[in-house]
């Protein structure tokens, strides 16, 4: 414990460097603005900013991108509460009761509770990250190729189980992502696969063009031609102060949402989205007055907002400790770290303690920055929402082209982005969730390498996965969840998704 405390103090000495503080501040501001803009969620924002981090030192780069991430989580809630427009997917549940509160003239308390809940959850998440990541990293040093294969497979099964919509569609999208990950030079044999004689594809398909295309471009294609946004309320500072009753109703949901969100954040999938849905379902079930939900219950804002922010922090645990992304956002952040020659994984905390602890400490700082900065400035930020969408979307498109091109100065990346935008548009029309594609793309090469190494180790026997206790436990857990996910498909029953309203959303 003392060692952790000393390391954290070392981290604060890094985080309080003026340059790091400044970038944390900028990251939070940019993230808040990005989160508020429909069509630009945290993933697209981070992807577009990625090239600008190449010239920065790795600590500053990751602090900036993390600031964008949790800033965007906060920004998304502002548009949800004031305009019923979820700036990013995790804020969908906040729309329900947040906007109802706005219609009742209580936008201020809703925004304040969302900010306080996000702050509390972010802090709980960082404490969890600080305590759990080093332990998990030590444990992961025992992992060989079979354990990694089992872990990645378990991640995909968990993703299927936790998905918002159809389990089969989620699995299909994950496999599509894995197939995209097969494009390029095979690391073990040197064969160039599925490149169609395009030299640039030898390096594989990058996560940035795929992510920007699937999430940014497809969103713009879907919302093209929409009417002008509605009038925006601009609460004053005095109106932001919640009443004692608001605090009383919100305390429990904030604490439950924080713990739940962190735990869901560690496992793969669109954790922050799922966590907000699950939190809303739980709060509605626990409430003595469930009929208030949907009509402006502040618990419906406090729980989901806390959960999605805690999940955003929880996702950093496997990213830093195992080098495995559990969401598209952490996949892009891994790419950002790797550009600087640093490999996230079990050795990161030992080899780069200043990066790990500086990052952890900067998240404490970032949470305070978000709370102190955003509440008084919410009136200023909502002015962004007054820009007509007709002006906004061409500029977002230009940013997408610019961001994808500048990652590796490659026109192929821009073409991939446009192609993925079109594919994403059609897939969303058919009700497919796109997050597993981005996740599969990153996990694909890892899964292939560890599977082939495992088979080579065992002389071609799949029994190796049953001879290693850690691999057996992970595979058993994954298969159990897969079986549970298959149950409603085969027996036409109701599972947990329909109980918390996820099916409605997926549809």
């Amino acid at each position: 414990m003392i060692e952790t405390f000393n390391s954290l103090m070392m981290g604060f000495s890094v985080a309080f460097q003026p340059q790091v503080l400044m970038y944390a501040f900028f990251g939070c501001i940019i993230g808040t603005l990005v989160g508020m803009m429909p069509g630009l969620g945290p993933l697209a924002g981070i992807s577009l900013l990625l090239p600008a981090t190449f010239g920065l030192n790795p600590i500053v780069a990751i602090v900036l991108l993390a600031g964008v991430y949790y800033g965007a989580m906060y920004g998304g809630s502002t548009t949800s509460i004031l305009m019923r427009i979820p700036g990013e997917a995790a804020s969908v549940m906040t729309c329900v009761d947040g906007y109802a509160m706005t219609q009742q003239g209580r936008a201020g308390p809703a925004l304040a509770i969302a900010a306080i809940g996000s702050f509390f959850a972010g802090t709980v998440g960082v404490v969890g990250l600080m305590l759990l990541a080093p332990t998990l990293a030590d444990f992961a040093l025992r992992f060989g190729p079979p354990e990694y294969t089992a872990l990645l497979l378990m991640g995909l099964f968990v993703l299927a189980y936790m998905s918002g919509g159809s389990m089969l569609k989620t699995l299909a999208m994950a496999v599509l992502g894995l197939l995209l990950g097969m494009i390029g030079i095979d690391a073990m044999s040197g064969y160039t696969r599925f490149s169609f004689d395009i030299t640039e594809l030898g390096d594989g398909v990058g996560i940035v063009p795929v992510a920007v295309g699937l999430f940014g471009i497809s969103e713009i294609l879907l919302t093209a031609g929409q009417p002008e946004p509605p009038k925006v309320q601009q609460p004053t500072l005095r109106q932001l102060i919640p009443s004692r009753e608001d605090f009383r109703y919100s305390a429990g949901p904030i604490m439950r949402g924080s713990l739940l969100g962190f735990m869901i954040g560690i496992i793969p999938g669109s954790a922050h989205i799922i966590s907000s849905f699950v939190s809303y379902g739980i709060e509605r079930r626990l409430s003595p007055h469930p009929e208030r939900f949907g009509k402006g219950a502040i618990e419906g804002v406090a729980g989901p907002e806390s959960a999605n922010n805690a999940a955003a922090t929880g996702a950093f645990v496997p990213m830093l400790a195992l080098g495995i992304p559990t969401s598209p956002v952490t996949a892009v952040m891994i790419a950002a770290i790797m550009v600087h020659g640093i490999l996230p994984g079990p050795m990161l905390i030992q080899q780069q303690p200043d990066l790990f602890w500086g990052f952890v400490a900067s998240m404490y700082v970032g949470n305070v920055v978000l709370l102190v900065l955003n509440l008084p400035m919410v009136g200023l930020f909502v002015n962004l929402l007054r820009i007509p969408y007709a002006y906004l979307y061409p500029c977002i498109l230009a940013f997408c082209i610019l961001g994808c091109y500048s990652v590796s100065n490659s026109m192929i990346d821009v073409w991939i982005m446009l192609g993925m935008g079109g594919v994403g548009y059609v897939l969303r029309k058919f009700g497919f969730d796109l997050a597993p594609v981005a996740l599969g793309l990153v996990l694909g090469p890892m899964l292939e390498l560890s599977l082939r190494q495992s088979l080579a180790m065992s002389g071609g026997s799949y029994g190796i996965f049953l001879e290693r206790p850690i691999a057996v436990v992970m595979l058993a857990l994954g298969l159990l969840l897969l079986a549970l996910a298959l149950k409603p498909v085969l027996f036409k029953g109701r599972d947990w998704r329909s109980k918390v309203g996820l099916d409605d959303q997926a549809g």
Binding site: G55, L179, S189, L221, A224, C395, V414, G460
Partner: protein
Amino acid sequence: MKSDQVSGLMLFALAVCVWWLNRAFPVGSLSDPGPGYVPLLLAIAFGGIGLLIAAFGGRSEPLLAIRWPEAGRAAVILIACAVATLALERIGYRLSIMVFLVFFLGVVERKKPLVVALVAAGFSLASFYVISDLLRVPLPRGPWGF
């Protein structure tokens, strides 16, 4: 036809394409899997899942019930982006993005010419300055150095 039946069959067709392309790579043996081994496994899984989606798709909404009211505008957006992409390395970032924005704001959205000119010129010049000059990320310049 129901929407899930169509999408499931489309995924199956894509899996067949992957399998066809993957024939060019050696699959190897179980003890020494080749570069075609994992793609083959994935193609089989993809095709299987596609067929399952189609098989269980009877309760999904009819294909014709999916509305595409924004499809025309979406096609225009994609074509304009493609043209801008083609122009990027030929006439440079600033000019191609300026023309791109003039097209969207002036032709598609029919905004006032002065506003269109200000937004298009302001955005392309300011973003070039921030990204290229301040953040030192190289952006393409046209034959006239612009």
